[in-house]
Amino acid sequence: MNGWMGRIVTVDLGSGRQEELPVSDEMRRRYLGGRGLGVRLYSDLCPQPPDPLAPENAILFMAGPLTGTVMTSGRFQVVSRSPLTGTICDSSSGGSFGAALKSAGLDGLVIRGRAERPVYLVVSHGQVEMRDAAGIWGLDTQRTQKALQERAGAKASVACIGPAGENRVLFAAILNDRDRAAGRGGLGAVMGAKNLKAVVAAGDRATAIADPVGYKEMSLRLDRAVDKNPVTGKSLQVLGTSVLVNIVNAHGMFPTENFRRGVFNDAEGISGEKIAESLLQRQSACYKCPIGCGRTTRTRNKSGEGPEYETVWAFGAHLGVSDLSAIAEANYACNELGLDTITMGSTIGCAMELCECGAWDAGLRWGDAGRLTGWVEDTAYVRGVGADLALGSKRLAAKHGRPELAMQVKGMEIPAYDPRGAQGMALAYATSSRGGCHMRAYMIMPEILGHPVFLDRFSTAGKPEIVALFQDIAAVVDSLVLCRFLQFAVGISTLSEMLRTVTGLDIGDEELLRVGRRINTLERLYNLRAGFTRADDTLPPRFRNEEFQTGSSRHRVVRLEEMLDRYYAVRGWDPQGRPTAATLAELGLQDGRRG
């Protein structure tokens, strides 16, 4: 088989039994791999949404048909039901673990049940072996990876949890290849609840290419396109993702002190430009990636990876902190302990506002840079104020009687773009299948950065159509599985060319977009079954009612109601956001009730 390995294995951690999960050619054509195939298989395995931390829940590690081939293809997707949001969730991570999983002979690994004692899994030669993790349970993610690589060889790639995942913190991350994280949605807690410390993958199988000549020619073209593009060929390399700090701040939508302002006065001090001239040691890159947006940094006390834009914001402007070293060290701590930096920082910001208004007497204050790492550690070990922070912002704010102070959608904290500054981004947050996430449809690209075309960020006209299109393209990229930053340099036709040369599957651009639409619709069906309704496709009242008084996004609110009906119509969903029978038929999802 070209592209795919043609093998997905299910392991039950309770019984130790493993078996091959049959996947038809038709299924691969309709869902590709990664996120799409993962969500499809998950829906079939867990048709009734289970308690995310119960043994009945499944967690899938998925590679895609392009994994291990073209540039940026070392990535993988983890799919499960999120303990943070209760939605279907997939979380993406870079590094080389995805490529290692395929070299080990698998397109995907499905894990069910709960081990009696801590275990880890080793994948090689298409087989999965369960081993005792007693000696590594309790270790942080860096020591865990080191210990397992000593056993399995330096070439092995390890995806693991740290103490936060073991302690089932609702936003625990999965770390691999040192500091790459499947961060969002708390799937590290799902591993922890299964007593699963890590998955190790190693092997030497190559992904077969259907059209080697076409592939070579296309790869050269791709190299040139990425190199020539000013974003992928220059900006991301030199300045990393934090180049966005000054850009978003200049647009008056850099969320400051829990989204109460859109301009952070100390933005320069935490910008990508500043990182480049202070903490930066060198750039770092995932498997086969010429872009290399990663930053290896050093502070006075430590060194590590990051901070990326989202993290700079979450521990910086969001908390009124401008001490770059403190931000970087909080980032290192999140990586070591296994926590999502966005939810961690956002939850601390929510806590600061709760304390300021007297709803919670825990002593968290704006700008208190010196305590960031301590709060991160307390959260990972669920102790002191960390016991409350470990709830995430939605549960924390509700517990202290001020639910409106959590800046989240469906329980997931929204990231570093205030939706009042970009109406399309607002709609994307509200309708994302995993809650407040910018990656489901990165509308900042057209609304702020002007790629591939420039759109008026304050207009709602045409936004429902474009959000749906961006969501569909994102689902395709997540299912192939590639890095989303490639989208700055290539469009849908390059994606279908990649699929064709690698797998031989020639479905064309339109059909590929339909695959994206099918995946988004399938995720919608799952969330409906999990109890979500139109009422959940919304944003916190702050964005709908409160205006900024300064900055270039002042006097604006989110106008969701102007867009939501149209968005449902574009999607072929009824006014309650439920896919119609005609839509299900068109997408071949007639068995949609079952998922």
């Binding site: 000013p230 900006s235 993702t241 647009h251 008056g252 990508g272 700055f488």
Partner: protein
């Protein structure tokens, strides 16, 4: 030069010019003329980071006048006035 137009450089432009800002006596000029004047004054070329050969905006270039993208105004023909702040970003991205 309190009444000048203030130009602020970011990202790769800042690295190239090794400066963060420049005050230009550009009251009443179009953005295009302002930038040409700024290039002269800065003593180093930088417009190639922002404009294409036909002197249109490169895809992805962000030029803000008082926080508003000139693409939403009259593009490079947008007039600037003393006291205005012009932010220049060469094409950039992240996530």
């Amino acid at each position: 030069m309190a009444a000048a137009v203030e130009i602020r450089f970011y990202a790769l432009l800042r690295r190239r010019l090794e400066r963060r800002r420049l005050a230009v006596d550009g009251d009443g000029l179009s953005v295009l003329d302002l930038l040409s004047l700024a290039e002269e004054q800065a003593g180093r070329p930088f417009l190639d980071e922002l404009l294409d050969r036909g002197r249109g905006l490169l895809s992805g270039t962000m030029i803000l006048v008082n926080g508003e993208n000139i693409r939403l105004k009259q593009g490079l023909a947008t007039r600037v006035h003393s006291g205005d702040v012009v932010d220049l970003f060469s094409p950039a991205g992240g996530g």
